[in-house]
């Protein structure tokens, strides 16, 4: 249930950005959630809808973008499918996950500024 503490960080970050730009209202947020970010998108959405009341995000719907985890060899680029051993057979190297697949990112804030 760390989704609530994540939402708290998210709202604090949005409030800081809005204050810096003297925004009067925030209209929309876009957040991307990687498959291996350790965050449940539904829980995240629920936590947001609960927490946003009384904050600058009160009227801002949250758009979630799910990013699949894509593993590939850092040398030859060969993709490693879901559930496979995370080593490139040809290069004998550990696979690496593509950016975004294990992250939770605040992408965009749509706000009304003077």
């Amino acid at each position: 249930m760390h989704e609530y503490s994540l939402i708290q960080s998210l709202v604090t970050r949005v409030e800081a950005e809005a204050a810096a730009r003297r925004a009067t209202v925030v209209h929309r947020l876009v957040v991307s959630i990687g498959e291996l970010a350790g965050v449940d998108p539904e829980l995240f959405q629920t936590a947001y809808d609960t927490f946003r009341a009384g904050t600058i995000c009160e009227k801002a719907p949250l758009e979630l973008r799910r990013v699949p985890a894509r593993w590939a060899c850092p040398s030859c680029g060969k993709e490693i499918g879901k559930g496979e051993v995370l080593t490139c057979e040809g290069c004998a190297l550990p696979a690496r996950v593509a950016p975004g697949g294990d992250e939770i990112l605040l992408e965009t804030i749509e706000m009304e500024v003077p």
């Binding site: 249930m1 503490s5 550990p94 696979a95 939770i104 990112l105 706000m111």
Partner: protein
Amino acid sequence: MCTTCGCGDTKLVPVDVHEKILAGNDRAARHNREHFLEQGVLALNLMGSPGAGKTALLEATARATHGRWRLGAVSGDLATDNDARRLEAAGIPSRAITTGQGCHLDAELVHNALHGFPWRDLDVFFIENVGNLVCPAIYDLGQAANVVALSLTEGEDKPLKYPVMFKAADLVVLTKSDLLPHLDIKVERILDGLRRVMPHPSVIQVSARTGEGMADWARWLEERKSRVPKRAATSPGHVHDHDPSHDHSHPHADGTVHSHTHEHGGGTDHGHGHDH
């Protein structure tokens, strides 16, 4: 457009941020990491399910290493300080971090716990996380490495069920090895699962009860310790002259501060132990 009062109309703008939501925690973790590196302390984040044997592993570590290193720990727990008391009894200075309903430790909780705790005097500092195979994985605490304790009694499929935790692990310690004869478990199946979720699979099988595998675990600690630079002679946070003999004071977990004198050799590695 309002042209009379000069207030101006507002406009709708999309602001691209593209920033980690945990950026604040990551900053605090970097700060902790700098502290640990400056002081030459190996900090390890020990995670695992409730009952995986995290505390028992640390107790056995104290037994197996016979005072070779100065060990210390903070233990995250929802409601009790049982783990910290067990570790104290095992000779590991410890402090409890009671998280209330919090399911994980974050970098700030760890930082706050450092105040008044003699962590600078340690060789190895264990951060025993809240028992949980999900949430703690995504919070950087400033550790040098993540260690995940997985007990054989938890079943063969845990790595595949909790990929985020095992992906974050630098080492998996398979605990309760002494129970293997009583379980319908194939260790090879656990290892196979780990290879599918860990890009750098590294596993040590131990029994805290019999001491099996504890030498391998101690070697792993030794190797990790060797990667931590020795404490610098004039490191911030512990500033004092390096005369061969000097006084200094430092606060303790119980809030007391005391001064003492001790001798140094010519080296910059400035460890000291003393009784209270």
